[in-house]
Amino acid sequence: MKREVLINCGHWFSPLAFALLAIFTSACSASPWMSASASSRPSDPEVLLATTTSIQDSGLLDVLLPVFEERTGYVVKPIAVGSGQALVLGERGEVDVLLVHSPDAEVAFIAAGHGVDRRLVMHNAFVLLGPPADPAGIKGARSAVEAFERIAQAGALFISRGDGSGTDVLEKKLWTRLGYVPLGQSWYQETGQGMGATLNVADEKRGYTLADHGTYLARKKGLTLEIMVEEDRALLNVYHVIRVNPDKSPRINAAGARAFADFMVAPDTQALIGEFGVNQFGEPLFIPDAGKREEALGE
């Protein structure tokens, strides 16, 4: 009798066990399960790229990475974080290559020996956005700094990234240039999030915010925010590719990083960058700059 009970016990459990077993076996056979894949040409095919949320949100990598992977056999894993975090990941040797837009921090990064071979890739511009009502009256201001001054005087709501990203660093630099510390003021709020999320907050709260032109163009349709100030040399948004110093860690894929950096400044890649967004927005999201001098940009 006891035996019969035990056999019966299986009746409710077996379908569940079977389902889980099925999941488990399919899990084990899935190809991207482990990072190493034997079929690609390079001995170490995986390249970790730390880049910015603005690059990911623009969709540029969705166009460029398949071309690179097809051509070289490398597989790029793009990790989208703020430029600040990207540089720290590079400093720790956790990633192989960086595509970032925080020039002052990048120069310090190279000087400290964390990275090598910093190359200019492209630029676009930052734009100062605000609600159509323009409560601080900044439209027509001659420079971003002047607009910032009016915002501070009016005590109009300003939404900052506050996440240490390239955009955030530039914004803080503009306040410093003005000799003003906005942090702690009731009209100055930090989201601590990426560009897209910050645009959502600024739009909802009718605040001013600084955004890169690419993300703004991509997001323009759903926003009421308008461009208040642009075409100021202080608002240039410059992207560089930096290889992490291979001496940092034996686990750095130095060959893969070099291949990616070379790819980003190659003429046909630069052409792809120059065309990106034209179909959708009528203008390119990024201006390709490989080989130019950084000081000559925006002149």
Binding site: C9, W33, M34, G196
Partner: protein
């Protein structure tokens, strides 16, 4: 409001036109969270049962830890798993960061205390005299455990559902250890975060609805098993 309508219609279109990218994301969500749940069951059910049926010094402390773990913040789990799996971390040589395996580890850490805690509660809710009766009828220890689990199958399946729900719905840990890489570690929750950030709200809503639909399917399947009458 129009966004929600657009989201619903987009979700239906994506599901029924067999959008390859979406199905890959759904498949990976199921695979990662299913595996994490399975592993959490393998650890959680024996641990919960053990804690329910035995007494040892410090048992209450362990039970409190398990109960606290049921509310473990995913972002905390994500942060610690990331640091462990970093190239410079103790497990860096395994090269698991930004792979589905890393997501399984993180989700398993989140789901295991949930399964353990609910198993513990389920087993403790059984009448203590049942154990004596089963043993008196001459059952071995394993037979007794099996019969007790069978007796507690309703709350145990609830534990499975809660564990899976905790795993498949969390986003903080998955985005940190997985990196939301298209075709490799992009699951429904991380894709939703990205589409929201890109301002594609209709797409984000569509993905959320697909996630809810997926959870409904899995839970309906488990509920059918749970609510089946015993053929006695």
């Amino acid at each position: 409001m129009d966004l929600i309508v657009e989201g619903i219609s987009r979700a239906l279109v994506l599901l029924f036109t067999g959008d390859a990218e979406l199905w890959r994301v759904i498949g990976l969500s199921l695979l990662v969270s299913g595996t994490a749940t399975l592993l959490s069951l393998l650890v959680g059910i024996p641990t919960g049962t053990f804690l329910a049926l035995t007494d040892f010094p410090g048992r209450r402390i362990v039970v409190s830890l398990v109960n606290t773990g049921m509310g473990l913040p995913p972002i905390v789990v994500g942060l610690f798993v990331t640091i462990l799996l970093w190239r410079s971390g103790p497990l860096g040589g395994l090269r698991l960061l930004y792979t589905p395996a890393a997501m399984v580890i993180a989700q398993c850490v989140i789901a295991t205390p949930i399964v353990t805690g609910l198993t513990l509660a389920a087993m403790q809710a059984l009448n203590p005299k049942l154990r004596l009766q089963i043993l008196a009828l001459g059952a071995t220890r394993l037979q007794m455990l099996w019969l007790l689990m069978r007796e507690a199958r309703l709350p145990l399946l609830a534990a499975v559902m809660a564990g899976f729900g905790g795993a498949v719905s969390e986003v903080g840990a998955s985005i940190m250890v997985g990196g939301n890489i298209p075709g490799q570690t992009r699951v429904l929750t991380t894709a939703t975060v990205m589409e929201t950030s890109r301002g594609n709200f209709a797409m984000a809503i569509a993905l959320s609805l697909v996630l809810l639909w997926l959870m409904l399917c899995v839970n309906a399947f488990l509920t059918v098993i749970q609510q089946r009458r015993r053929p006695l």
